[in-house]
């Protein structure tokens, strides 16, 4: 398949707007209609400021919101990914404009000229079909098609390439087929770091931004909107601010208002007229409301004469569905009102509610407007419509003498609806704030909130209650109350549509930090990172200076052929076996007992004959029995905490420490760290290998290390911000703790310079990863290691691909065995990971059983590294719990809990003995601000754990902050079984 895509190089772009001008020429767009333009963004505070130029335009999303909402099928997507607009079908409803998160749609109603009168070139290229319809960038599809027809390569031959790309004087814009791995754009995405804008909206944009270099594939370093940061936070950014949508005005709002009132009113009227035929007139009035709303829309759209096209796409567009429902509703409702057939009345009431739902869904699908697209808009719009209808209904029946006696009952119904509407409104606001809406959206809504509370809630309730008490005066009170309810709802929608409809702006802040950091560290002399070979280069070609740049710490070794690795491993393993056998009595004994000798080792498969090493072997030889070198050669000793027995001790020679630093530096580079990055190392320093392991690795790479260790989380937040750390090293649970403390301190770490998190030392789920990435605004990378083997740095994910952790096979041999039969398993099978050290001097480990359950892949990785990939370790078999016969890993529980609506990502599993059986209680904690039903939440969690893991457990819902926070390694499982005995 082909997918045409644009790549913009942020390090090249100078913001000159030549592409803007060229696009205006090529596509003869009207003044100020800029299908392509370049943003000029400034971020930071003086004197630490960065300014960056970011080309924007239609992103030709693989999943384009504009196409989904288009009621007419005018917006379509070609098989090559280009999103097109058929100007002959478009009715100019502007739904695509509010659905597009990239501000890429333009609705031009009438000709505009550069000067008062049209110039000859404007006359020559005038296209009346473009008026009253939504225009957008086509990726110059006419050029692309021309090229393909004539055998030219789009993106390579200028005749087949979009005008903006052709014109770019900095070579910042590139166009090509991202599905072709050999294309220019694929190469750029491979060679550089990249991100896409608003990728969290899952639109899969075909517009990529690259900067820096990365020996990995396209990375999705997507960021949530920066809107929240724009006012009042430590970072100022200019040029990306959200703006109020201009396309849906009071007329569009009128449709939502009239449609809501009309459908709500009709529903009540239809049901009531089952018994009270005299209400038919009110029903007709309700129809009138709906019709009025639709008429207002007709006034607003660009091509009213084509409005019938609105029916073309009910399979996707809620606007088309609204039209279809309306088309069915009017005859049906008319017939029902006329005939008063009960069944028809009920059916038409249901259709009225459906109409209301369709209107709610229209807003929900507007992905470009944060205040509209959240799920809470659905109940809000429906509840508002129904409440408005009820208000008007109440006001009406209170004036009808025949129905007045019943008004009290309906007043009660109205009370319920008004309360419901109020609760939903509040929930909507809370959810909106939590999701990070534009500050100005929130400001508008907050400004309206007390008014709504007074007129929409307090006043009608008071009036009705007084009416219920003072029955003789009830009628006017009910009328007033009903009108208040309706008016408040109408104003709410008016504000929501016309004043709170800010788009989300453009979101790039974090990348500003990244780009700036990258530029600042360019060509720091003496760095190992950027090596150059340009002495005596002969001139003549375009670039005289040949430079080799890579994000690998040791490219030669990291991209070694598999055969080469096997040969290296064989040689090194032989030496290791010899050394172990010769110098460590424990191994000699075990080898002898197993009847193997190092001499018998010829090739790697022979390793299966050698005995395993277990954690207990280390304890049995406590403290120094496993050392293979004299004590004077030991430079450092690490040890486990020993809480479950004797500590396991590990020694290191000078060579071991150097290798360790090399491997950890390799991991840092693999994770996307580059020399000059500021590494905030929150791994514990001390006997635990994490702190010092990461420390020396980062220093080896040429990073600035902040050796902060664990604990003192508030201070950590301050240091992270003040020192502008770009890389965070911590256990994942502690990273979450940092995020939470920062939030309490009012610091938004999403806006910090943090770019990469190197997390390890405890199992963590993908859900946890997503959560950390969201909260800290960084890319979370998994690093693996065990102190028995070396410490952190045994394996690491590559920044670009993140499909498994590269295990450094030049220093370790990785095997997978069946934990039951202890037999080796083939590549790709799931089993227990067994590691043999190949270069460890002080303490070689032969076939150490890690207890980690995983699988390996030797398939080539897109990052270019050849070393085997260990799938992410999410559980260890000694972590495994057996609950009522079911194998449960804590990580499985975590996967259920992290991201669970209403829950904070903190939990503990408490094991107790329930008679003869082990029982599991999962303690969870409510998310800040959650005010819902705790017991309901517990039931939900129980249900999810049962359905996803297959085990029944107890769930205790704790209040915010009650679960102990990680200060390093998180305590996820509390075993109280022994105490119970």
């Amino acid at each position: 398949m082909t997918r045409w895509a644009m790549v913009a190089d942020l390090e090249r772009c100078v913001g000159c707007q030549t592409c803007t001008a060229a696009c205006r020429h090529a596509n003869a767009t009207s003044p100020a209609v800029q299908w392509r333009k370049v943003l000029d963004i400034e971020a930071g505070t003086y004197p630490n400021v960065s300014r960056i130029f970011v080309p924007v335009g239609c992103q030709h999303c693989a999943d384009p919101p504009c196409m989904h909402v288009c009621p007419t099928t005018a917006t379509r997507q070609r098989t090559d990914g280009i999103v097109t607009v058929d100007y002959d079908l478009c009715i100019g409803c502007a739904y695509c404009e509010v659905a597009c998160p990239y501000q890429a749609r333009f609705l031009v109603h009438e000709p505009h000229y550069g000067y008062d009168a049209a110039m000859p070139n404007e006359v020559e290229r005038a296209d009346p079909a473009r008026f009253g319809v939504a225009q957008k960038c086509t990726f110059c599809s006419d050029r692309v098609d021309f090229g393909i027809e004539n055998g030219l390569a789009p993106g390579v031959d200028p005749r087949a390439t979009p005008a903006c790309v052709n014109s770019c004087i900095a070579d910042a814009l590139h166009f090509g087929d991202v599905d072709d791995p050999n294309s220019n754009v694929s190469r750029l995405l491979r060679e550089q770091r990249s991100f896409r804008m608003h990728a969290e909206l899952k639109t899969d944009p075909g517009f990529h931004y690259v900067f820096g270099k990365a020996n990995g594939q396209n990375s999705e370093a997507s960021r949530p909107a920066i809107d929240a940061a724009l006012a009042g936070s430590q970072l100022r950014a200019r040029g990306v601010e959200p703006t109020q949508q201009q396309h849906w005005d009071w007329k569009a709002a009128g449709n939502f208002i009239c449609g809501g009132i009309g459908s709500g009113l009709f529903a009540f009227t239809a049901v009531a007229s089952l018994h009270y035929g005299e209400l038919a007139l009110l029903g007709w009035a309700a129809l009138g409301f709906i019709a009025l709303g639709l008429f207002l829309v007709l006034l607003k759209i660009g091509r009213p004469l084509r409005s019938i096209y609105v029916l073309r796409q009910p399979q996707r567009s809620w606007m088309a569905r609204e039209a279809w429902i309306a088309a069915a509703f009017f005859p049906l409702a008319g017939l029902a009102l006329w005939s008063q057939v009960p069944a028809l009345l009920i059916v038409s009431a249901v259709v009225a509610v459906l109409f209301l739902c369709s209107q709610a869904a229209i807003l929900k699908e507007s992905k470009g407007i944060p205040a509209w697209r959240i799920v809470w808009i659905l109940p809000l719009m429906i509840a508002t419509g129904v409440a408005e209808g009820s208000g008007l209904f109440l006001a009406t029946i209170a004036q009808l003498s025949t129905l007045l006696p019943l008004a009290w009952a309906f007043a009660m119904v109205t009370i319920v609806l008004v309360l419901l509407r109020g609760w939903i409104w509040r929930s909507y606001l809370v959810a909106l704030a939590a999701e990070g809406a534009p500050t100005r959206t929130l400001a508008v809504l907050y400004e309206y909130r007390p008014w709504f509370f007074a007129v929409g809630l307090a006043l009608p309730l008071a009036l009705i209650i007084i009416g219920l008490v003072v029955i003789p005066a009830a009628a006017p009170l009910y009328v007033a109350a009903g009108l208040c309810v309706t008016a408040a709802g109408a104003v709410l929608k008016f504000i929501l549509v016309t004043r709170a409809g800010f788009n989300q702006g453009f979101a790039l802040t974090i990348h500003l930090c990244a780009v700036q950091a990258l530029q600042a560290r360019r060509s720091s002399p003496g760095g190992q990172f950027r090596k150059r070979k340009d002495e005596g280069v002969v001139m003549g070609t375009q670039t005289a200076t040949k430079t080799s740049e890579t994000f690998m710490f040791n490219p030669d070794l990291e991209t070694m052929s598999r055969q080469g690795l096997t040969a290296l491993q064989t040689a090194r393993l032989k030496q290791t076996l010899d050394r172990a056998y010769t110098n460590v009595p424990h191994y000699r004994k075990k080898f002898d007992a197993a009847g193997v000798s190092p001499a018998a080792f010829k090739s790697l498969p022979d390793i299966v004959h050698f005995p395993f090493t277990l954690k207990n072997d280390l304890r049995d030889n406590y403290p120094f029995g496993m050392f293979a070198v004299p004590h004077e050669q030991i430079l450092r000793i690490h040890a486990s905490s020993g809480t479950t027995g004797k500590p396991t001790v590990v020694g290191y020679t000078k060579g071991d420490l150097s290798t360790w630093a090399d491997l950890m530096a390799r991991c840092f580079a693999c994770a996307g760290t580059v020399p000059g990055d500021i590494v905030h190392n929150a791994y514990g320093y001390g006997l635990f290998t994490g702190g010092l392991g990461a420390h020396y690795g980062a220093e080896r790479l040429g990073c600035v290390v902040v050796p902060v260790s664990g604990g003192g989380t508030e201070r950590q937040v301050t240091l992270l911000t003040d020192f502008k750390a770009s890389v965070l090293c911590a256990t994942p649970s502690y990273a979450l703790n940092i995020a939470e403390v920062a939030q309490k301190m009012g610091v938004d770490l999403k806006q910090s310079c943090l770019r990469i998190g190197l997390f390890g030392a405890e199992p963590w789920s993908d859900a946890m990863r997503r959560d950390i990435e969201f909260r800290l605004g960084l890319k979370a990378v998994d690093v693996y290691g065990l102190s028995e083997i070396m410490g952190p740095g045994v394996a690491c994910e590559c920044h670009g691909v993140q499909s498994g952790l590269h295990g450094w096979e030049d220093h370790f041999l990785f095997e997978i065995i069946d934990p039951e039969t202890l037999q080796p398993l083939p590549m790709g099978a799931t089993g227990e990971l067994v590691v043999t050290t190949l270069t460890k001097e002080a303490q070689p480990m032969i076939r150490y059983r890690t207890r980690d359950i995983t699988r390996l892949s030797s398939a080539p990785c897109a990052c270019g590294r050849t070393h085997v990939r260990i799938l992410r370790v999410t559980g260890r078999n000694d972590d495994m719990l057996i609950i009522r016969g079911v194998n449960v890993y804590p990580s499985q529980v975590e996967a259920v809990l992290v991201g669970f609506p209403g829950l904070a990502p903190h939990y503990q599993i408490v094991l107790t003995r329930d008679g003869a059986l082990d029982a599991m209680t999962v303690e969870v904690e409510l998310a800040p601000g959650f005010t819902g039903d705790r017991f309901g939440k517990a039931d939900e969690v129980i249900h999810h754990i049962k359905s996803l893991i297959g085990v029944t457990c107890k769930v205790v819902v704790k209040a915010e902050g009650e679960i102990p926070r990680s200060q390093g390694k998180a305590v996820r499982v509390v075993d109280r079984r022994h105490k119970a005995n």
């Binding site: 001008a21 003086y46 550069g114 027809e149 600042a520 060509s523």
Partner: protein, 912 residues
């Protein structure tokens, strides 16, 4: 490109030369005879350093042709009163009437004498910046050459807004009228406010983008975060006009904090004057008989002439020698057994006090930062490294320093240019691959080739054509109103010199007399083309008043504007897409314009002229014919006044001198001569060929990008670090001026120092403003600076809607850019309307608050304040030009001053 041409469609090759960073070769799509689209010219992809791309300004050309505000017919003034408030009452006239009007006036002038009673030319002309108008004015230069003396000193920006010190000193030291890093090879660039991303054109932008991706580190040092700062690895917000302190501190670090062997000692010894011994009077110690400067040969321990073969001159030490010093006016001072030291020793002592700690409070930049930049520079210099260029081994020194405007003009320009060039010399990074290069030669001849312009001069340096200062030759009676040759020896006497000299003096002389200079009369006839000094010069009010007194102004007019508001005749000429002209391209030229090719490009008419606009060649020919100069005019064209000499070895396409030739004939001959020049006479294709192909080139040797090999070939040295020649010239000039009784230039004379003294320029500015306007300068707390805009600069396109539209996407255009925190202290909010007032005048505009500017600085991009230019007059954009006074106190020895003034800011209303 649509699959089917919809109708009559063709593509025309032409060029855009709206700024000195051009030409950009481009193509124009013409549909049904109407230009609709500008595209790059990918035919030039391989020969053009930026792949045949065209800059954003070129995309304004279609609107430039069809702008309804164009003047499409000749017009004459009916209201004799000239002034901003007077409606000129222009009425349409025929070309015949217009040309007769002008020719009659010219003929009357000729009859009265080409110069007036004061000796100043009766005819004056002003053209836009950087010589760009010559790319459009066809054969007008031939007419001007045929005419005789013309006063071109009425500045329209030149002198005060150009890279003035660089033009003069750059040309003196390394044939660098304009200076550029060797961007394709450079790895570390310290840029003091050079805004290459805005002013470097497509070649600059492309090359710097490539360099960034390659890993070149650029440190941008300037008071605000420009687009160039944005694209740099680091931004250092320096206090305005303190760059020389930063540079001096860098020199201090190199000379006082590093072992000598980190410097390029062979370069210093053999390619500079560092080892020249300096006598007690600050002049070179010379051999008594040959008068050659002496150096101390290390191995023999003897003082020998600098060009003695096989010597190893010493850079340091003090020695007892015999010899003479050659003083001003050929005075010889003999010395016997006098103790002297090499120039290098004087240099070391000169910067001793200028440690980074000294510079820190001056620049408001931490000493550690200055030191770090110096260290990084040295680390990247790769002293000792080499590279092969076209088979020749040259030093590779991939470090450079570039200087922006305001750094480069007015007081301080000498220090900055000297320091920049000297730092290059210290590490051997001058005119070698990767280092600082000159790109254009203008004042030395021949002006089309840097290598050919290198001629051996005295003392082992290149010959430089100083204006004479000897008693017998000094030009005491200025030939033009700026007195450039009288006051500024360094400005030389090329066709460009007039535009460089103290151009504001020409304006100032219109309202004040300069003691002992002839009283300056207004010119009888003033031609104006592609320039608008009433907006683009300083003290625009005074300029406007001065030109209102000119009796007869002929403006070649595009639209109405603030200068042609005073005109007597408006002549509409073809715009860029309408006219015909052949232009020399390639070689090494201007900013970043060094190519691997050289040749010619044709500006072919893409569309017919709108209205009655005429091709400039036609206008020039008519003027020549009607003034009886047709023979001289044609001869001038034959000699190359239209860009190419029409005859050469093996070919002769000369025009018959006595005939009035039509436009096509003239350019066909030029095209044939160009073809012949490129092919050494083998081919002679004319206009038709160029119409078809657009351009024609031949390779240009990359070796010629670098002057170093030529100097080695000629056995010459760079005239650094010690400015003995300037010192002597200054002394002589002082004597001449004093002999004439001129004392008002004494402050400028003080600048002729062998090693430039550092000046506290902030104080200099404040004192001059306070003194001249009798104000308390503390009331003006902000420095106001300006910055270039790629979209507008030089283009004469302020009235183009598309340009305005896209420029508005770039922050700061049309606003007063101000630091957020500084504004907060004054209660000023974003978007608020403010008045910015200098001691001279005020301007109004809306504030844009940002973080990327120093709290003590305000910025106004570009030059606006239009009140007559259609479209632009509705911008309500502020401009600093009205606020900057023309003051002798703020004029340096080269006759230049800097875009800098102190201002206060006042709120006018709360923003809507």
């Amino acid at each position: 490109m649509p699959s089917q041409p919809p109708h009559n469609e063709r593509v025309v090759s032409t060029y855009c030369y709206q700024c000195v960073a051009g030409p950009d070769l481009l193509k124009v799509r013409v549909e049904d005879g109407i230009a609709t689209e500008v595209t790059p010219n990918f035919d030039a992809a391989t020969i053009h350093p930026a792949g045949g791309k065209a800059c954003v300004k070129a995309f304004g050309l279609v609107q430039k042709a069809y702008n309804p505000n164009r003047i499409l017919y000749p017009m004459k003034r009916t209201n004799p009163n000239k002034g901003r408030g007077d409606d000129p009452g222009f009425v349409r006239i025929s070309w015949e009437e217009a040309l007769s009007l002008v020719a009659d006036k010219l003929n009357a002038v000729r009859a009265a004498g080409l110069t007036d009673e004061t000796g100043y030319p009766r005819v004056a002309a002003s053209f836009g910046g950087g010589g760009t108008p010559t790319a459009y004015m066809g054969t007008l230069p031939a007419f001007l050459a045929a005419w005789g003396p013309i006063d071109m000193s009425f500045g329209s920006g030149q002198g005060v807004k150009c890279y003035h010190s660089e033009h003069l000193y750059g040309e003196l030291w390394h044939r660098g009228f304009t200076v550029s890093p060797d961007t394709p090879l450079c790895e570390y660039l310290v840029s003091f406010g050079a805004n290459v991303e805005a002013s470097g054109g497509v070649c600059g932008v492309k090359r710097h983008a490539d360099a960034r991706k390659r890993g070149m580190k650029r440190v941008q040092i300037e008071p605000h975060l420009s687009v160039t700062g944005a694209c740099s690895a680091e931004w250092i917000p320096i206090k305005p006009k303190t760059d020389s302190a930063f540079l001096f501190a860098m020199i201090h670090v190199f000379l006082h904090e590093y072992p000598r062997d980190r410097l390029d000692l062979p370069f210093l010894k053999h390619r500079t004057s560092s080892p020249y011994l300096v006598g007690p009077n600050g002049l070179f110690m010379r051999d008594s008989s040959t008068r050659k400067p002496l150096v101390m040969d290390g191995p023999t321990g003897r003082a020998v002439p600098f060009d003695t073969a096989g010597i190893d001159p010493k850079l340091e030490g003090s020695f007892v020698v015999d010899g003479v010093e050659a003083g001003p006016d050929n005075e010889i001072i003999s010395h016997h057994a006098v103790t002297v030291s090499p120039a290098f020793v004087h240099l070391v002592a000169h910067v001793k006090e200028h440690a980074p700690e000294w510079a820190e409070p001056i620049c408001d930049v931490p000493a550690a930062t200055i030191r770090r930049i110096a260290n990084e520079f040295l680390d990247h210099a790769r002293v000792g490294g080499t590279i092969q260029i076209e088979g020749v081994t040259l030093p590779l020194r991939p470090v450079s320093i570039s200087l922006g405007k305001t750094v480069n003009n007015g007081w301080g320009g000498y220090e900055c240019c000297w320091a920049r060039t000297l730092i290059g010399c210290l590490v051997g990074a001058l005119e070698v691959p990767g280092s600082t290069l000159g790109t254009t030669v203008r004042l030395n001849r021949p002006a089309d080739n840097r290598w050919s312009s290198v001629k051996p001069g005295p003392d082992g340096f290149m010959q430089y054509p100083m204006n004479p200062t000897s008693k017998s030759e000094w030009i005491s009676r200025p030939p033009v109103r700026s007195a450039h040759r009288t006051l500024v020896p360094l400005v030389a006497d090329s066709a460009w010199s007039q535009a460089l000299g103290p151009t504001h003096l020409a304006w100032m002389m219109q309202s004040e007399d300069f003691d002992k200079l002839p009283v300056a009369s207004p010119p009888d006839v003033w031609f104006v083309y592609r320039t608008n000094p009433a907006i683009s010069f300083w003290d625009t009010k005074a300029i406007g008043n001065a030109m209102a007194k000119f009796p007869f102004i002929v403006c070649f007019a595009y639209t109405r504007d603030e200068t042609n508001h005073m005109a007597d005749v408006l002549l509409p000429d073809c715009t860029d897409l309408e006219g015909l002209q052949l232009l020399r391209i390639g070689g090494t030229k201007y900013v970043e314009q060094f190519w691997d090719y050289q040749g010619f490009a044709l500006r072919a008419p893409a569309v017919p002229p709108q209205g009655e606009a005429k091709d400039f060649t036609w206008i020039a020919t008519e003027l020549a014919y009607r003034t009886g100069l047709i023979e001289a005019y044609n001869s001038s064209i034959n000699r190359g006044a239209a860009g190419v000499r029409l005859s050469g070895k093996n070919y002769d396409f000369s025009l018959a001198p006595e005939k009035k030739h039509d436009v096509e004939t003239i350019w066909d001959a030029s095209c044939r001569a160009a073809s012949a020049e490129i092919t050494d006479g083998a081919e002679s294709q004319g206009l038709t060929w160029f119409h078809e192909h657009g351009f024609r080139v031949k390779p240009f040797p990359r070796l010629q990008w670098y002057l170093y090999p030529k100097l080695v070939q000629e056995g010459l040295r760079f005239e650094q670090p010690y400015q003995e020649q300037l010192y002597r010239v200054g002394k002589e000039l002082g004597r001449r001026l004093h002999e004439q009784g001129i004392n008002w230039w004494d402050k400028q004379l003080d600048e002729y120092q062998p090693l430039p003294k550092w000046h506290d320029l902030n104080t200099l500015w404040e004192v001059a403003l306070a003194k001249h306007f009798s104000v308390c300068i503390a009331d003006y707390p902000f420095w106001l600076i300006t910055a270039r805009s790629m979209q507008y600069s030089w283009g004469g396109n302020v009235g183009i809607q598309l340009i305005k539209e896209v420029a508005d996407n770039v922050a700061g255009h049309g606003n007063v850019v101000m630091n957020h925190a500084a504004a907060e202290r004054l209660g000023i909010t974003d978007g608020e309307l403010v008045e910015v007032r200098s001691p001279l005048n005020d301007t109004k505009g809306r504030v844009i608050l940002c973080e990327g500017i120093r709290p003590d600085t305000l910025l106004m991009i570009g030059q606006f304040d239009h009140w007559a230019t259609p479209f632009a007059k509705d911008f309500h954009a502020p401009s600093m030009n009205a606020l900057v006074p023309m003051l002798l106190d703020l004029t340096d020895a080269t006759g230049s001053s800097a875009d800098l003034v102190k201002v206060k800011i006042t709120r006018l209303e709360t923003a809507a």
